[in-house]
């Protein structure tokens, strides 16, 4: 993992006082789309062109500012300055304690800003075509804009609290967008499931955040040496034990990772992501491929100093080991399930879960740059694949089952070409495609991991599966014979143009992360980058590239051998199902995780709810009723005493008092004489109290 870090000395840090215009205006990047969303919300429903124009325009502004920020960081990098500019301010002040918010501009946020706003903009444009016939077009763009703003807010946050607020806003918009077609019961259920599953992770995240605040007194990441991600506070965190052999740093890191696992669909909280495909396809592309699910990975990258705190040179920490194992398991687990799915979007959804596992494993073993590089390349090619799938669905008249497609390479040539590029990038086709280089970086880090070799073998196996299931999907969709109902047609240019642009990047992005010119890694870790072919000669690198090439070809070949050129009817069992029916059944049913949760967690809650209901009705209700009876009895007794003992004269007095409007009204007579008497009386009484207290 540390091979290239020692190549050149790190840049000298930037003077803290220098905060340029780019950093000071950073808040505009999330603010503009959020304001646009508010304006769209106020529009009357039929204003389609205006709504789309506002959303696209606002995100263009964000993209412009993002590029400006990126250029600023890049200029610093070229002058060998490690740019990290923060703008912090106090939000709440309670006595000496204060809660600060702020934003940060550094290579990590700059790269992410450009990716989110650029991919987001393409998806916005694509949506204009995809959602053209939807009644609630305006509402859709309102949610999309709000989502983009919140996501950009997550990216620029310099405070865990601000990040959490935007994080929750992202969760909310995700809920709204998955359930956009809420009249379809599966969509409504999927929205609910996504919201509640991610909430499980968020609770842990919140706990970690509160703990961090209690330990360090700040939630800012960077604050001129006093932030929680800076050596001073990290040292304090390491020094305080948290039980089970963990330091507070490790325990907080694990809690935050639980939040990230919820958002990024890691095992065992991945169940919501495939169901989320019930939302409109641009939403799947934007939220469930390119941006929101990457937020968890970004969060881990952001708090990496905390995760890494206490690691010896070349060593690792408990938190990072957990991240690695969870990531690697998710990668294989989801890839296995993807093999046996028939819904075009579900295959991609499981593929996303699997790739997020790769990113997490990359973060755990290779550091920020390795994980983030895969995040960026994946964002481009997975958005491309989802939008390609959307184009296919659009062309096939809302058909999503791959068994009802086929031969689309003739009907939809442009979609086919771009989809093929995305598919090869995802499989990691050697040398030409970005996915190859980013996945290779992760495999290389796994190969050199000091703790265990398990993740390496798991990730290689996952690569084989990836190539296999993508070949299966492409063979079903684009080859063989047409098995659909109506004839398919190519999508309009507003949808295919973004595909072409993304396809370009799915290829080109590889160039910035090859071992010969590891620009991306150098940029993120504040080192200079030089072009050196000789780095290919490092021990173990070429054999590794050979292995992964071999694995990819094996997967492609196997897939083509089983599925290529055939067109089985939809009712016919799958080729694999005939070969290994038992395993197929398990995989097709997603390894029964949903059923497991249904039988354990959900059943337990159901039972608990029944118990609580019973307690409420019988026990507490009984207590309340008996108290009520007690008082009623007491009141009856009082009534008897009242009637029999209290004489009529007193009754008459009470009546008079009541008719006068109670005691208060008696005082507030409106007669100023009474007021003045009362004033004098009050003075006398108060003075008496005071003098009496003065007596020994």
């Amino acid at each position: 993992m540390l091979m290239q870090e020692e190549v050149t000395a790190a840049f000298h840090p930037q003077n803290q006082c220098l905060v340029g215009f780019a950093a000071r205006s950073l808040w505009l990047i999330p603010a503009v789309p959020i304001v646009a969303s508010g304006v769209i919300a106020l529009l009357r429903q039929p204003r389609r062109a205006l709504a789309a124009g506002l959303a696209i325009g606002s995100l263009s502004v964000s993209l412009f500012f993002s590029l400006m920020a990126f250029a600023h960081v890049l200029a610093g990098w070229m002058n060998s300055v490690a740019v990290r500019e923060t703008v912090n301010f106090t939000w709440i002040q309670v006595g000496s304690a204060h809660v600060d918010l702020g934003w940060v501009l550094d290579p990590l946020s700059a790269v992410m800003l450009v990716m989110v706003s650029f991919v987001g903009l393409l998806i916005f444009i694509y949506s204009v075509g995809y959602m053209a016939h939807d009644v609630n077009f305006t509402r859709f763009f309102c949610f999309l804009s709000l989502f983009a703003g919140a996501m950009l807010g997550v990216v620029i946050s310099n405070s865990l609290l601000l990040l959490f607020m935007c994080w929750e806003l992202v969760g909310l918009t995700s809920y709204l967008l998955i359930g956009f077609w809420y009249h379809k019961p599966p969509a409504a259920a999927a929205a609910k499931k996504a919201f509640m599953t991610t909430r499980v992770g968020d609770v842990f995240f919140l706990l970690g955040m509160v703990w961090l605040f209690a330990q360090t007194g700040t939630l800012l990441f960077y604050n001129g040496g006093a932030g929680s991600m800076e050596p001073l506070k990290l040292g304090a965190l390491l020094a305080s034990p948290a039980g089970l052999g963990l330091s507070a740093a490790g325990a907080i890191g694990l809690l935050i990772f639980a939040g990230a696992a919820g958002k990024s669909g890691q095992l065992p909280l991945h169940v919501w992501l495939p169901d989320a495909m019930e939302g409109p396809t641009p939403v799947s592309a934007l939220i469930h491929a390119a941006t929101m699910v990457a937020a968890g990975v970004y969060l881990i990258a952001r708090v990496y100093p905390l995760m890494q705190a206490g690691a010896l040179a070349g060593g690792t920490t408990t938190a990072l080991t957990v991240v690695t194992w969870v990531g690697a398991s998710t990668a294989v687990f989801a890839a296995l399930i993807a093999v046996a799915q028939n819904d075009i979007k579900r295959i991609l959804a499981y593929s996303t879960v699997s790739q997020l596992g790769y990113m997490m494993a990359g973060l755990g073993m290779g550091g920020v740059a390795v994980g983030m590089f895969h995040l960026i390349t994946h964002a481009f090619f997975k958005a491309l694949l989802f939008m390609g799938a959307g184009s296919v669905i659009h062309g096939c008249h809302e058909e999503q089952d791959v068994r009802h497609m086929g031969a689309l390479r003739k009907a939809m040539p442009l979609t086919f070409l771009t989809y093929a590029v995305g598919m090869l990038a995802l499989c990691g086709f050697p040398l030409l495609f970005s996915g190859f280089w980013s996945k290779d970086g992760i495999l290389e880090a796994a190969q050199h991991w000091s703790v265990a070799k398990g993740p390496f073998y798991m990730l290689v196996f996952g690569a084989l599966l990836t190539a296999f299931y993508m070949t299966r999907q492409v063979a079903y969709v684009f080859f063989g014979e047409w098995r659909g109902h109506k004839t398919a047609h190519e999508s309009p240019a507003v949808m295919t143009m973004p595909l072409a642009i993304l396809a370009f990047f799915a290829v080109a992005l590889g160039a910035i992360g090859t071992p010969a010119w590891p620009w991306f890694k150098a940029f993120l870790s504040d080192h200079a980058a030089g072009f050196e072919m000789a780095r290919f000669g490092e021990p173990g690198l070429l054999p590794l590239m050979g292995t992964s090439t071999l694995v990819v070809f094996l997967g492609l070949g196997l897939g083509w051998w089983i599925y290529g050129g055939k067109s089985p009817a939809a009712e016919e069992p799958d080729a694999l199902e005939r070969a290994i029916p038992l395993a197929w059944g398990w995989l097709h049913n997603k390894l029964y995780v949903d059923e497991l949760y249904g039988a354990t967690v959900i059943a337990f809650y159901g039972w608990w709810a029944k118990v609580a209901d019973w307690l409420d009705r019988c026990v507490w209700g009984g207590v309340v009723t008996s108290v009520a009876w007690l008082f009623r009895g007491w009141a009856q007794l009082n009534r008897l005493i009242d009637i029999h003992w209290v004489d009529g004269g007193f009754d008459k007095g009470c009546e008079e008092l009541a008719s006068g409007g109670g005691l208060l009204a008696r005082v507030q007579t409106g007669r100023v004489q009474t007021y003045l008497r009362l004033l004098a009386l009050a003075v006398v009484v108060l003075a008496a109290i005071l003098i009496w207290s003065g007596r020994g």
Binding site: I92, Q93, L676, L686, G694, G696
Partner: protein, 514 residues
Amino acid sequence: MNFADLFRATLPETALEIAALVVLVVDLGFLRKAALNLRVAVAALLGVAGCAAALWMLPFQGLGFVYSGTGELLLASGGSSAVAQIGILLLTALTLLLLADSTFTRHVGEYVAVVLMAAAGGLLISAAQDLLVIFIGLELLSLGLYILTAFAKKSGRSAEAAMKYYLFGGMSAAFLLFGFSYLYGIAGSTNLHQIMLAMYEWNAFRAAPLLYVSLVMIAAGLGFKVAAVPFHLWAPDTYEGAPAPAAAFIASVSKVASFALLISISTAAMHVFGGLNAMVTFEVHSGAVATQNYLGFAVSWSMILAVLPVASMVLGNLAALAQVSVRRLLAYSAIAHAGYMLLGLAYFSYTPRSAEAILYYVLTYGLTTVGAFGVVGVVERATGSDRLDAFLGLHKRNPLLAVVLLVLFLSLAGIPPLVGFWAKFNLFAAVLQVYPTGAGLGLVVLAVGMSAVSLYYYLQVLKRAYVMSAVDDTPIAVHPVTLAVLLLVATGAVLLGCFPALLQGWIAGFYPGL
């Protein structure tokens, strides 16, 4: 303090008085034949200009008169006084702008002049450090308020309210002056700091009962100003009878000034000997048998101030539940709010924490109350009544007005993220910091419980505005200036609530670091 210093210290008051005279000259001299709305506009604008001039003068008062402890100090500047004075001037300007389409009087010039003079009295008592200055300032303010209450000359209720207010106020002032004279007799000085020092001398020990009596009388006089139970009886009648802008002025500016005065007294009591002996009681042995506790100034003052808030919070909130007139409701809620703030004064800290929390509370309370009376005034003009039923269906008749009402009332009830929540939060936190157990904790719990009760009657009004169906659907027109002021106030309540550190930081900036 020589006369040059005194002149500089009273520059803002001078500016207000000159503005008052200018308003009179312009209104009675040049605009005698002009239309009423022109005269209103000119008078209000001149008044606002006077406030602006006074604000501009504030930095020229000169600093360095804070807690100096010298016998000659008449007026303080900086610190709490500066915050309160800025607050008074801003709130006065807002209440003047609410005058925009008022029709209760034809004598606008006189009205504005009296408002400005009363505001000058408010400025004076916020800074006063001497019994005589305090009394003069209080009378200047109070006399102005009596006149303002009576200003709707065609309304019998206005005259009646003013008469009651005047009689009650006169008697309170008599008590206050009586108390002051006792205090002077015991301490031999009229300066607050000198009095605090004298409290530790033999004279004061011997005259302990007389001291208590005088403190209670002073508490009666000042309790009348802030409408604390049991000196609150004038408030409901006055709030109900006074013209709406005058009621807004009474509820906001007069409150700010009076609490600034109470803060001055408590600060002086706490800062004697650098805060070391302030809260100590002494056992005086006379002869062999009888012992007598001597409470000193600070302890007995705190004890009185701890009784008033309990009564105010309970009675104010409970009585408000039974009101059908929104103005009376606001009057009782004002009594309750005064109770919360007195709680902060009863448990006062040596550090500026308590003073900051009380100022935060009274400024934001003043702001929201001005807005609330503005809304009530508009509704009253449209429907001819201030009863709860007059607010039926307000959100259909004028949605913006209803939104302003919603924001202001929820802020008064202390719902986050509006500014009223932070005001309560800071205040209670300050009390708990001084006295985290026993009585302090108990009173804070009572206060929190009572704020929960208060939500009920605020929601009663909002329920009529939003939920219950309207009897009358005709839209209510609002004068653009009034609407702008109301929106400004509501926006302030939201923004200051979302960014609570803004106002806190601004107030804290007036205190030199201790």
